[in-house]
Symmetry: C2
Subunit: 600 residues, 2 copies
């Protein structure tokens, strides 16, 4: 959000900024949004806690204090934080390593994990490390989230069908399926698949139906966000009428009455060490998800998001979750969009949502206890289907094959190796791909576009060239990984018969010359000088020239530095005109295949 | 070396190429070079085996068959392979983990390590992975080698002074020094320090002395390469006369007569697993050292080196070492330079050197057995002093602070964490530094250099600008790690009052637009279109344009693609001339501080 920054502390506590402009209109809007989000959030919080292998009430606890803290610290006006699908899956993967799902140790470890995530996010925020998020490429993130969606859906089959399945990879999860299906009951699959069918139908035809009933389109869309709670309640009523609840159809079970337990997370040092690395991954993935949503919504409102402040907001929210019986949380896509569409104006909507959930907990917990797990699983499955973005695969694959391969590899690593391996493979591959690309820089020999001061690739355009003056455009910053390629290219050019008298390196695309490249240029300069060929630079950028100024390259350069390629071309041709080159180097007009478009 | 490639197998066996041109002149040159290198190599091979914690004879074994194999497979005419300082240090670090120095297991493990290195190098060569070497930046490599030199010198103190010291890091090596010095003997330090003094004096004044005796400069320099063997022989004679050899002054000891033992390396699978990773590091470091030397010498002769063939040559040589009682080897700097200076013409010089060493072994082993270890240690210490390149630190630090920090960090990591941690820290830091740099791209708003078609940074040059047309030059390829910075920069420009009517992105420095950046540009295009601002591209390079062609960005672009910035400037100004901008956007001449040099 736009912040005037008048209050000295507003930099760290955005609420000081928007709080003073708060009025009745904003209050009404925020309250309405909070009501809708609350109704949507209750089943979501229960379901994602279940996905993480935690008691469902943990999800509710994680939706109280953290939302209030984010209201104080967050910089997004519409982001809604709480338990989220991918982070819950990662939580399950991390905790499964240290304790048995559902045990007291498991619950305690979840608090440690939330605390570690909170600290990591806060530290990143205070160190202004928000830029690190930039190192996750979109294709890799899309691949990771899509594959996580598949993993999540598979992990919910056990609740949906009431069969024993476990594991954190797709093969492990599907391994016991045939056997499990053989021992299938009747009641649970009926409730689960029935809920799935109802959710699917509402999603498919609900909006049209409501509009035919006279509900305006936008309101209809908002109302349909309540489909999960409606479905679960209907399923609970039907299963209750059939006498299945608790007898054949598993229900959520005891939800302790009252406020969340406050306290410090505890655990052996060994536990903290084991959970540190998963906490790093959870923090990064959670932050990336959260900041992407917040950014998208901020742009739609013309607001500005502070990535580093978001780290602090999320970090504070996770600490709050750790101190109040919760679990690792982050900003969620669907709930934030609902908050946005329902008209939330300020972060206060989040605090009101927390109040709403508290009210529900205090009033309705006996009812919540009787909700069927199978229906909750159905809501998760429907929700994560939207995480699978198949068109993105096609789009990326067609635009950039290498990135497409990285994307597919990320999917495979996530499905077959689990979420942590998946995200690491993805990040590693996208960095490796980028480095590989820059290590083989594109270079082009250029000539003059007739009648202009413009120079273009001789292989793509009809341009003037001269055998005495070779002009090489280097299309990449020069650094340690790619200097050898440049050396090879220059060698090829100067080994021509007749050799050129001058070699001009056009540096418009060179943004950095590192120490390794500098050494290499110095060696090149010596070699060309020995061969009687001048080495000239053109269009060297300011920041690059500033650093070259004092180097021995500039002191010994066997040639000149020109402002523009055109200037180099004019001056060097003029200086060599008195000495015709061995090969009769007249300016020739080279006509190549028609290509003439707006490309170099 | 230049290869005509006439023989179909010459690609893989360079000997088929140079072999057929072999004649009597080349033979004479190669024989002379081999004689000098042999005399230099014998003490070196013994000393480096000792450095690796292996029986000295191992160094001789590693200088026989491997040299012959390299002669067949290598592409450098002057590279001399064998045991080398840094690789021997790394070998000691790796073997120290699996067995006690000097034990039979230790010797067997050295063969496994050589075998693994050989296989890794061969596989890299066959997969044409020679380019991987480019990912080690010079500053990091210089830092690593310098620190290794210090570690090696420190590790030789125990032999030089005849005291018990051990460890693979500087603190560990120096830890026992005070206590060791308290228990110092007399004979060994006398021999060791005496040898050191003699070597130092020969190095310092030897050449001048020889030249005063009438020896030509070049011959004097070559003769001085024999200083180590002369020193060791003198030390042995003196110590022998004093009756110290074997009584107070440790000697090399038993050197088995006859040929090296041939056989396959063996070991537990666990051993192979443990040594795999060290073997990878040894292969990479050895290859980088070797290829740098070979490259430098090839340039001096105008020959061309095939990096992938070098991998195969080194891989074959290491396999040969593994099968004949050797140790991991690589191409060495000093011995190759001696080979070069002594006039070696073809790889045959290497084979002759191997023959020479064999002769020495068969004839002189009783003499070799009585060489004092302290003198060998002195030769190592003098040799590795040249690895420490202090001026490079100053140069790099002044040119690029970030790389200087990486260099110093590499030194610290090597000294205090050992060679393996050192090289990993170095590679990691140089990549991280590069990525960090490209993630914060330089962007410049540009204006027209009056009277030309050239556009330069408004903050550095006196250029014409127009409030209606903002021209932003992006000085970096657009990829996932840096698109957010561009978004921020564009936002700052279009939020100006009055806002521009057109935004031109000058893409001359953009070599790649990846899928993440494409999405970001599409989003930018939508935002600017909504704000009524045209988004135009200029100077898009051919390869970039080819890929953009079919994307939705090109289909929905709210503006045009211009061949040059000048064209964009002309056309856009003409089109907006009828509609004066809110802020009275006359073309203004902006004069900035004098800077006018050849920089953008």
């Amino acid at each position: 959000m736009k912040r005037s920054g008048e209050h000295p502390l507003a930099r760290w506590l955005p609420i000081l900024d928007w709080g003073r402009r708060y009025d009745r209109h904003r209050l009404t809007d925020d309250l309405l949004a909070a009501l809708i989000v609350t109704l949507m959030l209750v089943p979501q919080a229960l379901a994602y806690a279940m996905l993480a292998g935690l008691p469902p009430v943990t999800g509710l606890y994680a939706s109280l204090l953290p939302l209030a803290i984010y209201t104080l610290l967050g910089s997004s006006s519409t982001l809604s934080v709480g338990p989220m699908a991918v982070v819950s899956l990662m939580t399950a993967a991390a905790l499964g390593r240290v304790a048995e799902a559902g045990s007291a140790d498991y619950v305690a470890a979840a608090l440690v994990l939330a605390l570690l995530s909170g600290v990591i996010l806060l530290v990143m925020g205070l160190c202004r490390l928000g830029f690190l998020v930039n190192f996750l490429s979109h294709p890799v993130m899309t691949g990771f989230v899509s594959a996580s969606g598949v993993l999540i859906a598979a992990s919910q089959l056990k609740h949906l069908l009431g069969v024993p399945l476990s594991g954190s990879t797709l093969p492990a999860l599907l391994d016991g399926l045939p056997q499990a299906i053989a021992g299938l009951g009747m009641a649970t699959p009926l409730v689960g698949l029935g809920s799935l069918a109802m959710l699917w139908s509402l999603r498919r035809w609900g909006r049209g139906g409501l509009m035919r009933l006279g509900v305006p389109g936008r309101a209809a869309a908002l109302l349909l966000k309540l489909a999960p709670i409606v479905t679960i309640v209907v399923a609970a009523l039907v299963a209750g009428a059939a006498g299945w609840l608790g007898h054949g159809v598993a229900v959520i079970g005891t939800i302790p009455a009252g406020l969340p337990p406050l306290g410090l997370p505890t655990g052996e040092p060994e536990l903290w060490r084991t959970l540190l690395w998963p906490a790093v991954l959870i923090s990064i993935v959670g932050y990336v998800e959260s900041v992407s949503v917040a950014q998208a919504l901020a742009v739609r409102r013309g607001e500005r998001l502070e990535p580093d402040q978001e780290l602090i907001g999320l970090g504070g929210a996770n600490l709050a979750a750790a101190f109040s019986g919760g679990m690792p949380i982050t900003g969620g896509f669907s709930r934030s969009v609902v908050n946005f569409d329902a008209g939330a104006r300020t972060p206060a909507a989040g605090a009101f949502t927390a109040l709403g959930i508290l009210l529900v907990m205090l009033t309705f917990s006996p009812w919540l206890e009787r909700l069927p797990m199978a229906s909750l699983a159905a809501t998760i499955i429907i929700a994560v289907l939207s995480l699978v973005d198949l068109p993105a695969f096609v789009r990326v694959w067609r635009y950039a094959r290498g990135e497409g391969v990285a994307m597919v590899a990320t999917v495979a690593a996530t499905l077959f190796g689990g979420v942590e391996i998946g995200i690491l493979v993805g990040v590693g591959l996208s960095l490796a791909l980028h480095l590989y690309g820059t290590s083989r820089p594109h270079t082009a020999e250029v000539g003059r576009v007739p009648g202009t001061e413009h120079f273009r690739n001789v292989r793509r355009h009809a341009v003037e060239t001269d055998a005495r003056v070779a002009i090489l455009r280097v299309d990449e910053s020069l650094y340690f990984a790619n200097v050898r390629h440049l050396e090879d290219r220059v060698t090829a050019v100067v080994n021509r018969q007749p050799p050129p008298r001058h070699l001009v390196l056009t540096c418009q695309a060179i943004n950095v010359i590192d120490a390794t490249a500098l050494e290499s240029l110095e060696a090149l300069n010596r070699r060309l000088a020995a061969a009687g060929i001048g080495l000239h630079l053109a269009e060297v950028k300011g920041p690059v020239m500033d650093r070259l100024e004092d180097t021995s390259l500039m002191k010994t350069l066997n040639g000149r530095v020109f402002l523009s390629t055109f200037e180099a071309w004019q001056m060097l041709l003029r200086s060599t005109i008195a000495q015709p080159a061995a090969g009769g180097a007249t300016v020739r007009h080279r006509a190549t295949s028609g290509e003439q478009g707006p490309c170099v």
